[in-house]
């Protein structure tokens, strides 16, 4: 049976299913016991699984993520809630040098199966230190898988995949897509039919979220939804836009991206992360290094510019990669 779920509830369902069956999975993070984590992915788990498997931690991200890595090395599968990606600064070494590299440095002797859930993004006026995306920063680390569902179906399937993966997986969710109360009414396009049975969504495959023939709009997380909105606008002008959801940054589906761009010959990459040294450059380079001649026009990037996120709504809205900008760029490119 399928129901329409939010991403947060869909992810929770997968985690719950796996935890019921596998003793090696436990959850830790700040306030996971009472609050169930930033998106409520462990909502109610405190009562259900007890404080041994749902561990409230001090505000010690280096300490508890390092601890999680050690538990993973010793046969557990920790699931960590890091709330906001802005906080990676205080624990980056564990991501960069420990969890991601131990398997390699030990030539496979040691496995580090752990899932790190992090919320990304802004758009709700939380200013420069609580609105960042930074997904390119974590995706630049070798030895970690980075996935980024943008709808409930993928949220559940990718959570199952993450929990069954013998590697360090960073599972990102844009705050605005999760469908949690404090971010307002869930976006329609994030809600999807979610089967009750468990299923996996493989990493490293893009999704074609909307078919189209004139132009390819590529996004991830929240920007997928901005692309979809833009595609609706463009349809009114008779422009048929294909929308690609990257879904997985590491591995990145370069074949899928290339095929999708080739189909229309035009590409716009949207990204709420900072423009430079990020996803947008990587995606464009991945296409043109195969064959620049598939492009009938110069590719365009609609990203957050290289500036800290301003607090005031007037300024923040102006710098975000919103649908109107995407649609404008698409119109210029197609005409």
């Amino acid at each position: 049976m399928s129901r329409i779920l939010t991403m947060a509830r869909a992810g929770r369902e997968a985690l719950d299913w796996e935890m019921e069956r596998r003793d090696e999975i436990f959850v830790l993070g700040e306030d996971v016991y009472n609050f169930g984590g930033i998106f409520g992915t462990a909502d109610g788990f405190g009562a259900k699984y007890g404080p041994e498997r749902v561990i409230n931690t001090p505000i010690s991200e280096t300490g508890f993520i390092g601890m999680a890595a050690g538990a993973a090395m010793a046969g557990m599968h920790p699931v960590i809630d890091l709330a906001y990606i802005d906080f990676i600064g205080v624990c980056y070494n564990v991501l960069l040098n420990t969890a991601s590299k131990t398997h390699y440095m030990s030539a496979g002797q040691v496995k580090v199966p752990m899932t790190l859930m992090i919320g990304t993004g802004g758009g709700y006026n939380n200013a420069a230190q609580h609105s960042q995306c930074l997904h390119a920063t974590v995706a630049h680390i070798p030895g970690v898988k980075v996935v980024y569902p943008s709808n409930a179906y993928d949220a559940k399937g990718m959570m199952h995949s993450a929990l069954r993966d013998p590697n360090f997986v960073i599972y990102l969710t844009h705050k605005g897509t999760a469908g949690v109360g404090w971010m307002g009414t869930p976006l329609k396009t994030t809600l999807s039919e979610v089967p009750e049975e468990p299923y996996t969504v493989p990493f490293g495959k893009i999704a074609i979220t909307r078919e189209g023939s004139d132009i390819t709009l590529i996004g991830l997380g929240m920007s997928v939804h901005e692309c979809l909105k833009a595609a609706d606008e463009l349809a009114k002008d008779g422009i048929s836009a294909q929308v690609v959801d990257l879904r997985s940054l590491a591995p990145l589906d370069r074949d899928g991206i290339f095929a999708a761009v080739k189909k229309t010959g035009r590409m716009i990459v949207t990204d709420e992360d900072y423009l430079s040294y990020g996803v947008s450059g990587e995606v464009i380079a991945s296409v043109v290094e195969r064959d620049p001649t598939v492009l009938r026009a110069a590719p365009v990037r609609i990203c957050t510019p290289d500036i800290p996120i301003p607090f005031a709504r007037s300024m923040e809205q102006a710098i975000l990669p919103l649908a109107a900008k995407i649609a404008d760029a698409a119109r210029k490119m197609v005409k």
Partner: protein, 328 residues
Amino acid sequence: MPLSPELRRNMYRQMVRSRAFDDAMIGLYWVGKTPIFAFANGPLPGELHCSNGAEPVGAGVCAALDADDMITADHRPHHVAIARGVDLNAMTAELLGKKTGLSQGKGGHMHIYDTRVNFASSGIIAEGMGPAAGMALARRLQKRPGVALTFLGDGAANQGAFHEVLNLVGVMKLPFIAVVQDNEWGVSTSKKESTAVARNSDRASAYGMAGEYVDSNDADDIYLAAERALARARSGGGGTILELRTARLAGHFMGDQQAYIPEQMKQIDPNPLYRAKLIREGVLSEAEAAAIDAAATAEVAEAMRLAQEAPYPDPSEAFDHVFAGADA
């Protein structure tokens, strides 16, 4: 300085100014956020961490400071900022994201900067530790006076930065005070659950520095303890961990129902207690106290009026201030 009536009246005044400010902000915060709550809605969007209950900390410590002293505060900065003398109009405007705000709308409530009174704050836990130590070091190198204080929560004392910076302060004997505000909670996690010792001030021995705990949430006691720590710092005696029992009456942030707080841990409002004490001890008459209360409410109302009338920044201003100098 002894606890003069003047000083105590002023501490009370700072406490009610801070409370008036927070109450006004809480009122405004809910505009546009009911019946459906979302951070992004209304004229005061984003997260909001109010200081209700912690006013004695700001008032007591800041009353003991000199103009030369420097402060870094955390995600809950209002009570410290206000007691330190941060421009109330500009601070109000900043929370509303207005052009007339301290940071012209770029900062919001966790990023309060007022260089006029050496005040800064930021939103990453324990982030203010290093900068405060650096401010203290700068003054030493510049041969200028000044003690640096960082205000942080009890939860923040479990961050690595706390340890690293206190060790540096200990080694360098910097004029530095870590004001640990013990409200017993870090979001929904109790101090007991998160902290291996009952008092962070006892951790001072790990850094060869002084530690003091004040259990009362009373501005007088806090003032006197701050004076002791400041005297130590000014005379070359090094740093102090000054831990102050305080309260967090309005929850972690707006929207926090505090359902996790058991009945027996409910916290007490320090402001009416201090008011009653000053009246009881003849420092204030009821009428004088009422006048201070009214003045604070009026001042905040005026700040709010000005802020609401002020313009929003132009979208293009987002691109200013990324860099200083020629690239600005």
